[in-house]
């Protein structure tokens, strides 16, 4: 009889931290101690606290262990599982030096207590490779309800009333999208799940697929019923091997249980799903490029209209929904549109998952009601900025989004507000930067990405982003002029207005928003030829403070290019025209006399 479940995170973060080996060793220890029939190991999806991985939780006590290593496994098995003594050194303590009895339950920690998990409700709770655990959590109940009690139009009405908007970035109302597709008559329609998550620093969709793949399958079947489609495709990138594997396992199990396939629940409704692997082109996250790629062609966007709801995959009516959007749907059907609409703001209902990354203590995955402020996410849930540094900006929406400065931290996050301040929701990546980041260089990084990822079909994006990058390079190298700043702005507006698809239309956002909020940094680069954050190499100067220098000559002997001169016991000087900024002198100086400015 199983008396205890040990949940080990099998998300990508913890897996790369070795959770697979930890799980295997724990099973061996459990067998060795004769506990095989008493303790069950469950491999789950992401818990969210990726910064503290690999993590595991022992039920029924609910003990949460973080930073577990293979060497710790024997202690956990012998002490906790066998003798019931919690291994104190491994218990996740939010504050240093907390006594064991004062450690809050996981749900009460600052990281979790204000989160509201709808899309992530099963992540870190169930075994994603066991359909029966999903069923235990009310899985496939919504599909049953829809097929036996509701008409397709009633399903669409619930979706409209709930106010759910697309979580992939643009925020289009899901119910409206379904209505368009349902209104078309065709011999075949399609439901496509967009799982081509490509923003640097984003891993929301990956975590949902890894932790709760059946929720996505169930929602796709519901969508199929609502619009009259019998076929679905999930377009997921091949770089997500764990997600792909779990999707395939899930689809196999759903077919075996008759929850996909023909005559589901004896209602005569047929629906099946196939997986299509993307090769990792960012542009394939754009819906028309994604469809072109599924059709077997080179992934390039096409003009809209016609919109996919009218003429989509193989020229048939198609709806394309993002993974997170879909993950909300079974709950909306079961709990009702009013329940969903009660969360969030007037403009944006429900919750949103964000992937927190960059200069933040709790790197990981969070889900909060829309309307929560950035300050709450970064300081309360995210645990603030590490190493005592100062917050500078947060980039939402990845390379398509914009940066938000400290002065706007109290903005409640929803689709409308983010667009108004020049950023965008995007899919939910949130990269935090501290004062050691140069904002010009930051914008340049994202532009570098979009230049690489531009598919080349339309001129404004292909050539425009390249020219933008060249201008930014010129500025970071110290050759920029004030006119270049105006040119940057003009070019940004031109690219936004004229690009074919969202990739080009949003690519200038990082430049525009940094120009808007950090123009002083751009001006420092251009006018003073100085990088305030000390990042841009060409603008750095090494300088010996004459009052600190003892004239020991160590740096002069170390300098590989002979740029340092000076007499013994007298302050030395660096010839900046010869200096190659290698930093050897700083490392050599025993008196900290050399500084970068």
């Amino acid at each position: 009889m199983i008396r205890s479940h040990v949940l080990i995170c099998g998300g990508t973060g913890c897996t790369s931290g070795g959770s697979q080996a930890i799980g295997e060793k724990l099973q061996r220890e459990i067998d060795r101690l004769g506990l095989t029939d008493e303790i069950k190991i469950v491999r789950t999806g992401c818990f969210g606290l990726c910064a503290n991985g690999p993590v595991m939780i022992v039920y029924p006590e609910g003990t949460f262990y973080s930073h577990v290593k293979v060497e710790d496994v024997t202690d956990i098995a012998e002490e906790h599982l066998l003798k019931g003594r919690v291994v104190e050194r491994l218990v996740y303590k939010e504050a240093e030096g907390l006594k064991l009895e004062d450690v809050p339950a996981l749900g009460e920690t600052n990281f979790y207590k204000t989160q509201l998990r709808v899309a992530l409700r099963n992540c870190g709770v169930i075994d994603p490779e066991n359909i029966e655990e999903y069923i235990a959590m009310d899985g496939y109940q919504a599909l049953g309800k829809v097929l036996t009690e509701m008409t397709p139009q009633e399903v669409i009405d619930v979706m409209k009333k709930s106010g759910l908007r697309g979580r992939g970035g643009a925020g289009f109302p899901t119910g409206t999208k379904w209505q368009f597709a349902a209104a078309n008559t065709a011999d075949q329609k399609y439901v496509v799940c967009n799982a081509d998550e490509g923003d640097p620093g984003a891993f929301m969709d990956r975590s949902v697929l890894e932790g709760d793949p059946h929720a996505v399958l169930e929602a796709m079947a519901i969508a199929g019923y609502a619009i009259g489609a019998s076929k679905g495709y999930i377009y997921v990138r091949a770089e997500y091997p764990i997600a792909v594997h779990r999707l395939e396992v899930a689809i196999g199990q759903a077919r075996e249980y008759g929850l996909l396939g023909e005559d589901i629940f004896g209602t005569g409704f047929n629906f099946d799903i196939d997986v299509r692997l993307g090769a990792g082109a960012f542009v394939c996250g754009e819906e028309t490029a994604l469809l072109t790629s599924i059709e077997g062609n080179r992934g390039e966007p096409r003009n809209k209209p016609p919109f996919p709801a009218n003429k989509g995959l193989f020229a048939k009516p198609t709806i394309i929904n993002n993974v997170e959007t879909l993950a909300n749907i079974p709950q909306i059907i079961l709990k009702g549109a009013d329940w969903f609409a009660s969360m969030g703001t007037e403009d944006s209902r429900g919750t949103k998952v964000f992937a927190l990354g960059g200069a933040i203590n709790n790197t990981g995955l969070v889900e909060i009601p829309l309307g929560t402020t950035l300050r709450h996410i970064i300081y309360d849930i995210g645990g603030g900025i590490p190493n005592g540094r100062k917050f500078k900006a947060v980039q939402t929406g990845g390379p398509s989004g914009g940066c938000i400065p400290a002065s706007l931290l109290d903005t409640p996050i929803d689709y409308g507000n983010l667009t108004r301040i020049g950023a965008m929701m995007g899919s939910g990546g949130m990269i935090v930067t501290d004062d050691s980041t140069c904002m010009v260089d930051f914008a340049r990084f994202f532009l570098d990405f979009t230049v690489d990822e531009s598919c080349g079909k339309c001129t404004p994006c292909r050539i425009g982003t390249r020219r933008l990058l060249e201008l930014l390079n010129k500025i970071t190298e110290g050759n920029g002029t004030l006119e270049d700043l105006d040119k940057l702005e003009e070019l940004c507006k031109y690219i936004k207005a004229n690009s074919l698809c969202a990739l080009g239309q949003t690519a200038p956002n990082p430049v525009l928003s940094t120009l808007k909020y950090f123009r002083d940094e751009y001006e420092a680069h251009v006018v003073e030829k100085r990088c305030p954050a000390g990042v841009c190499k060409n603008l750095m100067r090494y300088y010996i403070q004459p009052d600190v220098c003892r004239g020991c000559t160590a740096c002069a002997r170390k300098c590989p290019v002979g740029a340092i001169s000076g007499k013994v016991k007298e302050p030395h000087v660096i010839d900046t025209t010869k200096c190659i900024k290698c930093g050897a002198c700083i490392e050599t100086c025993k008196f900290n006399a050399i500084v970068k400015k």
Binding site: V125, I126, A136
Partner: protein, 123 residues
């Protein structure tokens, strides 16, 4: 899957298993499982408690956990029952048979078995 009943059946069967992950229920039964407890035979007691609780579908009300040594090794195996604000009940020298009785009379019936408690031994 040809009917909703089939789905409901799987759900019911599985819910009993995953309820373990919802954290502590109202009644917590802790079995002393330090070296002293194990040596005195706490393991069969723990297993009996887990089985009986599951058999009677009490998983949403009762959580069976282990605990360490509470310092009265001569009375092991010790089983303690914590319920809301009520005073805890400490059973001593528990055997699998006694454990069954505890589930039936105390956890289901609501009547602690006085003669198995530490109070009875001290008198």
């Amino acid at each position: 899957m040809k009917s909703l009943e089939e789905l409901a059946k799987i759900r019911e069967r599985m819910q009993n298993k995953v309820v373990l992950r919802e954290g502590q229920a109202n009644i917590r039964v802790a079995v002393g499982m330090a070296t002293c407890g194990i040596a005195a035979g706490a393991r069969p007691v723990l297993n009996t408690l887990v089985e009986e609780v599951a058999k009677r579908n009490l998983n949403d009300k009762v959580t069976v956990t282990q605990t360490g040594c509470i310092g009265m090794c001569r009375f092991e195996p010790i089983v303690e029952v914590f319920e809301g604000d009520k005073e805890r009940v400490t059973y001593i020298k528990v055997t699998p048979e006694k454990a069954k009785e505890i589930v039936e009379k105390h956890l289901v019936g609501g009547n602690p078995i006085a003669e198995y408690t530490i109070g009875a031994a001290e008198n």
